[in-house]
Amino acid sequence: MAVKRREFCKLAGVSALALAGGSASAPGAAAEANETDKLIGEPIVGNRWAMVVDLQACRKEEGCRDCIVACHSTHNVPAIDEPKEEVKWIWKEHFAEAFPNQQHEYLAHDLQHEEVLVFCNHCDSPPCTRVCPTQATWKRDDGIVMMDWHRCIGCRYCVAACPYGSRSFNWRDPRPYIDEINADFPTRSRGVVEKCTFCDERLAQGRMPACVEACKDKCLVFGDLEDPGSEVRRLLEKRHAVRRKPGLGTQPEVYYLV
C-alpha cells in the first residue's frame, strides 16, 4: 500500500511537470470528483453554508439510510450497541420530536409517522459555541460550526446548551466499535464531543458533503445562502421551509421543506 502511494505521488509529480503546471486548479470538479483521485483539489468556498432537506422527497423511500451510512462510515462514527452511549451525527427522529412546536392531534397522515432527518443545524447564533470554555467548537466565517477534537476537554457544556440534541459524547474508546475504519479521516478518542461538521474536509477538496452525495433522491441540497443563484436559495424561494425550534433565536441553517 505504502509503496503504491509513493509511486503514485511521483507519477503525479511527473505528470504535473509534463502538463506544464496548472493542474492544481481543477475548478467545478465538485460533484464529479473521482473517488480514487487523491490529489488535493480546490476547496468549495462559501459565505453562509446551509442545507435544505426535502422531506417530501425523503418520504418516498421508507427505511432508507443511505445518507446516515455514508456519513457515519466516512467519518468513522462508532456504532455503539448501548443506546445510552450511542454516537450519531445524523439520524431520523419522528416528526413530533424534531418539530415539537408543530405537533398537533390531527397532523397530516403522512407526517404522523414520518421520520425526519436531523443533524447539527450549524446555527447562525449557536448557543453551543457561546458556552465552550476552550473554543473547541466555534463558528467559522463560512457558517460551519466546527469541532476541534484536539482541544476539547470533554466538559459537555455544549451538549447541555444544544437545543436540538445534535451532539454526542464519546463515553468510551470508539475504535472497537468502528466496522471499517476510513484511513482518510481520523477517529476520535474517548472523552470528546462530536457532531456533524458539514463535511468541512470534503468541502476543502471541492466535494459535496457525504450525505448530499449519497442521497439517490437528491433530498439533501447543500449550498451558499449568500449566493443568490444557488440551489438552496432557489428552493427556499419556491417552497415553504420550516426550521427546528425557531423561537429560541438560534437561527438554524438547516431548512426543512415539509
Partner: protein, 385 residues
C-alpha cells in the same frame, strides 16, 4: 502549624484512617474511569451531567455560605461570630477544593483542563466560574492563613486583611451567582432557564451552609474542647430559618409559573420530579423526601422552643442539609435533561464507581477540614492554656 495535625488520640486517627480508606477507594475508581472513559458512570447521551456536577453545585453553595458568618462580624460588628469566622473560611476552602475536584472528575479529557487557561473564552460561563472559584479559594486561603498566624502570635491580624475579607463578601455571592448562570442562560433547557435560579441557589446555599456549620460546631463541642457558644449557634439557626423559608417560597414560585402557564415544556420537568414521566420516576421518592424534610425543618426552626433545644435543632439542620442536597443536587441537575431536547425520557442513576469517586472526593474535603480544624483548635488550646 501543620505538625499539630499529626498528633491526636485514637478517635482522631480512626477518623483519619477511615477518610484515607475512602479516598483510596475513590482514587482506584477514578483510575478505572481514566482508563475506560466516563462509561463507568450512569451518564448517557441524554443525561450528560449527573452526580459529579450535582455535588459541585451543592458544594459551591456551601462555600458561598461562609459569607453568612463573615458578613455579620465584619460589616455589622456582630462580635459573637468572631470565634467561628475562621471555621467558616476553612469550610469554604474545603468546599471550593471539592468543587474543583468534582469538575475535574467529570471531564472527559482532564489532562487538557489547562486549555481553559491557554484559550480563555470570556463568553463561556464556565470560564468565569473557573476565575471566581479560584479567586475565592485564594482569598480564603490568604485570610485564614494570615489570621491563624496572627492568632498564634497573639496579635491582631494586619489591617489589610480587612479589605480582603470585605472583598470576600460580594465574591461569595458571585461564585454562586456565576454557577447559577451556567444553567440559567441555556435556551435549550427550559427547566433551568429561569431568572429565579440564581436567587434559589443563594437561598438554598444560605440554608444548607450555616446548617452545616451548626452541625460542625455541635460535633466539635462533642469531640474537642471547643465550644462556639449557644448564642452563636442560635444566631446561625436564625439565619437558617429565614433562608429555609425564602427557599420554600422560591420553590413554590417555580411551581406556580410552570403549572399556571400550562406550558408542557415547563410542566414536564416538574412532573418527572414529583409524579414521574412516561414511566420514569426514579427521583420521585427522593423529591418527596426532600419536601417532607424541609417542611419538617421549617416547622422546627419556626418554633423557638424547638429551635432552642439541641435535639430538635440538630434534626432540623440535618434535615435541611439532606433536603437541599437532594433538591439542588440530583433534583436540579438531572431534571434539566429530562425530557431531552428531542422529548426523550432517559433515566439516570449513579453507578458504584461514580458513588465511590464522589465519596473519595468528599473524603479529601473532610480530610482538609479535619486538618484545618485540628491545627486551629490545637492552636487555640495552646493560646488559651
Amino acid at each position: 502549624m501543620i505538625e499539630k495535625a499529626l498528633t491526636g488520640g485514637r478517635g482522631y486517627w480512626t477518623w483519619i484512617t477511615f477518610l484515607l480508606a475512602m479516598i483510596a477507594a475513590g482514587a482506584y475508581c477514578y483510575l478505572l474511569q481514566l482508563n475506560n472513559g466516563l462509561t463507568v458512570t450512569g451518564l448517557s447521551r441524554d443525561v450528560t451531567w449527573g452526580f459529579y456536577i450535582a455535588q459541585f453545585t451543592f458544594l459551591v453553595g456551601v462555600a458561598a455560605s461562609a459569607v453568612m458568618v463573615v458578613m455579620p462580624y465584619y460589616l455589622h460588628n456582630f462580635k459573637v461570630f468572631g470565634r467561628i469566622t475562621i471555621l467558616g473560611e476553612f469550610l469554604a476552602i474545603s468546599a471550593v477544593a471539592m468543587c474543583m475536584m468534582f469538575i475535574l472528575a467529570d471531564l472527559g479529557q482532564p489532562g487538557r483542563a489547562f486549555n481553559m487557561i491557554l484559550h480563555p473564552s470570556p463568553r463561556s460561563i464556565l470560564f468565569w466560574d473557573m476565575i471566581v472559584l479560584n479567586g475565592y479559594l485564594v482569598i480564603n486561603v490568604v485570610i485564614s492563613r494570615v489570621s491563624l498566624t496572627a492568632e498564634r502570635r497573639g496579635e491582631a491580624p494586619p489591617a489589610w486583611t480587612r479589605w480582603v475579607i470585605l472583598l470576600s463578601i460580594p465574591w461569595a455571592i458571585s461564585i454562586h451567582t456565576v454557577t447559577a448562570f451556567i444553567y440559567s442562560g441555556l435556551a435549550a433547557r427550559p427547566f433551568w432557564m429561569t431568572a429565579i435560579l440564581a436567587p434559589r441557589f443563594l437561598a438554598s446555599a444560605f440554608s444548607s451552609g450555616p446548617a452545616l456549620l451548626i452541625l460542625i460546631c455541635l460535633i466539635l463541642r462533642r469531640v474537642t474542647k471547643f465550644d462556639a457558644g449557644w448564642e452563636v449557634i442560635q444566631r446561625l439557626a436564625m439565619i437558617v430559618t429565614y433562608a429555609v423559608l425564602i427557599n420554600i417560597f422560591f420553590v413554590l414560585m417555580e411551581f406556580f409559573t410552570a403549572f399556571y402557564s400550562a406550558i408542557p415544556e415547563h410542566i414536564e420537568h416538574f412532573k418527572y420530579l414529583y409524579v414521574g414521566l412516561e414511566g420514569h420516576g426514579e427521583l420521585v421518592p427522593w423529591m418527596w423526601l426532600s419536601a417532607a424534610l424541609v417542611l419538617l425543618a421549617a416547622f422546627v426552626l419556626l418554633n423557638p422552643h424547638l429551635r432552642g433545644r439541641q435535639g430538635p435543632l440538630t434534626f432540623a439542620c440535618v434535615a435541611v442539609v439532606v433536603s437541599i442536597w437532594i433538591e439542588k443536587g440530583l433534583g436540579m441537575i438531572v431534571t434539566g435533561f429530562v425530557p431531552s431536547p428531542l422529548g426523550h425520557v432517559t433515566s439516570y442513576s449513579p453507578t458504584l464507581p461514580e458513588v465511590l469517586i464522589t465519596l473519595g472526593i468528599y473524603g479529601v474535603g473532610a480530610l482538609l477540614i479535619t486538618i484545618f480544624y485540628k491545627v486551629t483548635l490545637s492552636l487555640r488550646g495552646e493560646v488559651e492554656a
